[in-house]
Symmetry: C2
Subunit: 345 residues, 2 copies
DNA sequence: TTGAAAGCGGTACCAG
DNA sequence: CTGGTACCGCTTTCAA
């Protein structure tokens, strides 16, 4: 009964013009008189025409080629990100989008710069990047963009060069969330809190620390937050650094591990049995297991599937110069406890 | 350089058959000799063909009409669900799917039965249902299905009639999560905990209570969980019931509000100032505000957008008789605190 | 049991 | 500036 959606054909006949002209107007292509444009737009409004993007993509047959640059660190989180990218590859091939993964050396601007400069703008339309915020990286991003490659920041923001082109959680809020949970979980009425980060160059970890400190000093002044330990996702490094910390400070009641590889920490904590409260980041097979065994008390996480899909949408929107609602696409800060863990993939 | 994805045409010529035959095989339609089927499948595998669903839908031009039956209770949660359905309507019109909302009387099987029986199977392909688990509802679901209408349960499972056709959170886990949070948040070393539910007929609330009790007795035996109060999303009822409860039990240290309308509870708590810990369900404008003001300490929630999209995918998959990965589509149990609230919509 | 051909809603090239 | 038309990848009559 309900007339089906109007198509370009309906608009064309209603406006008394040809298909081609309607197409020109709809896609804002040049070569149409203003009066004609107005006539077509009038018909579009009157008929309530909405473009069928699926059909458009089919006809257009444009292929988007995107590269994801992921640190090659031994981290379940980046592995999960990579596997999500692979998982999306199948789905996206239907949407004329091809994804490629390039592993770069972690915490190394130079590696990022080389990877970025070697990008062929004939074979790559966009790149999603996890990188430290340094001057050389910023310059390389500028060069890639000058060659017409769209660049977005993943996980860790690069506001100096990629304003509004960031896909990831609000890390300050993540740090605040961790602080609130940890502060409430710790039963003792005083003590120290240990904070582990990847690297002082990583903006995401700095932001988390800021958020964490803010809540701690405001709501839990009875706890003392120790200086951050830089762990660099380095399991061996942690093997020496952690015992030292616990020797030096004998009243540690909580740990906030903001880094992306938890192996060293879990190994260390697994051998202890005290009432330490531990909050870590990112849901991975390792951290899931630690949560289930009670080694971790909660996890702050971000959905890697969401991140990948959002990054793709952001790159496409940028290329097509259509709006992208960053607020709406904002990645959630997930809180996981043993009880609300999602099923294993 | 990379040859583009193979199409039905490639498969057809590779297998030495026509387009129509490939289509028959791909879609499992009858009327093809077994040998031919095998030949086509062989080509499909060799070429790595994957069906372009966008093009398929375009050609198929089938329209799916789905109805969502939502309780008409004064609840921000159901409103949010309804607005998500409306929001999806635009997007889905592109995917040849039309959504309709029908508000039914809350907690009333009779209303559900009437709505279900009045569904025209010529105008409706599927219905997503929030309903109590009663015999009359089960029978009405049976009749709708007999008429060829696909039925799925939303939010609250109806396992007796809709095995594997449920979209919502695992409510037992949700109750466990609430218990774990509440138990950890409460600083006192003993006291009572108040539990509020919608209705004893609502399976979701029963499951939450079970999960809650399980964790409480196992990990927090020092707290006493009081009998559930049935609140029926009725603000006025709560106005009398809550003061009574707090008079009768003067050592209440925590509240777990499992119902979907929090208005009455917030009004009541807003006038008190004690160290009560409160965990409620569902992120709505009201509960968001309560969280921000510190009236609530945490929220257990489920993403209404996800639920709507998942329900649509489940109904479509059922109609097309293609597999639906319930595990993969499982709705997350979200935990929100003041610090990790998503931006307002 | 199979194939040819006409679309689905758009896009893009080529003429006029 | 505008129109005609041949596709895009797949489905669906209608005949053979």
């Amino acid at each position: 009964m309900v007339a089906s959606k109007p198509t370009v054909n309906d608009v064309a006949s209603h406006a008394g013009v040809s298909l081609a002209t309607v197409d020109r107007v709809v896609n804002g292509r040049p070569g149409v008189r203003t009066v004609t444009i107005e006539r077509v737009n009038k018909s579009i409004n009157e008929l309530g025409y909405i473009r069928d993007t699926a059909a458009a993509n089919l006809a257009r047959r444009r292929l988007y080629r995107f590269t994801f640059m992921i640190p090659n660190t031994d981290s379940g989180f980046f592995d999960s990100l990579a596997s999500q990218i692979e998982a999306q590859t199948g789905v996206l091939s239907t949407e004329r989008t091809a994804l490629e993964i390039k592993r770069i050396t972690a915490f190394d601007s130079h590696s990022v710069v080389i990877a970025l400069d070697s990008l062929d703008n004939k074979a790559t339309d966009g790149v999603a990047l996890i990188a430290p915020e340094t001057a050389t990286v910023r310059d390389a991003i500028g060069r890639a963009r000058a060659r017409g490659i769209v660049v977005v920041a993943l996980i860790s923001d690069l506001p100096s060069s990629l304003r509004n082109h960031f896909v990831g959680i609000d890390n300050r809020s993540a740090g605040q969330t961790a602080a609130q949970l940890l502060g409430r979980f710790i039963k003792a009425d005083k003590g120290s809190i240990l904070l582990l980060i990847n690297s002082r160059l990583a903006r995401d970890h700095l932001e988390r620390r800021h958020g964490f400190d803010m809540i701690m000093s405001e709501h839990f002044p009875q706890f003392k937050v120790l200086p951050s330990i830089e762990a660099r996702d380095d399991t061996e490094l942690l093997e020496t650094v952690l015992p030292n910390a616990f020797n030096e400070w004998d009243d540690i009641k909580g740990v906030y591990a903001s880094m992306s590889s938890n192996k060293g920490l879990i190994d260390f904590l697994g051998n202890r049995s005290d009432d330490l409260m531990v909050i870590a980041h990112e849901l991975t097979p390792l951290s899931r297991n630690a949560l289930q065994r009670g080694v971790f008390d909660a996890l702050i996480s971000q959905d890697t599937g969401h991140i990948v899909r959002s990054a793709v949408r952001l790159m496409r929107a940028t290329i097509e110069a259509v709006p992208y609602n960053a607020l709406q696409e904002r990645i959630r800060i997930d809180i996981f406890m043993k009880e609300n863990l999602p099923p294993e993939p």
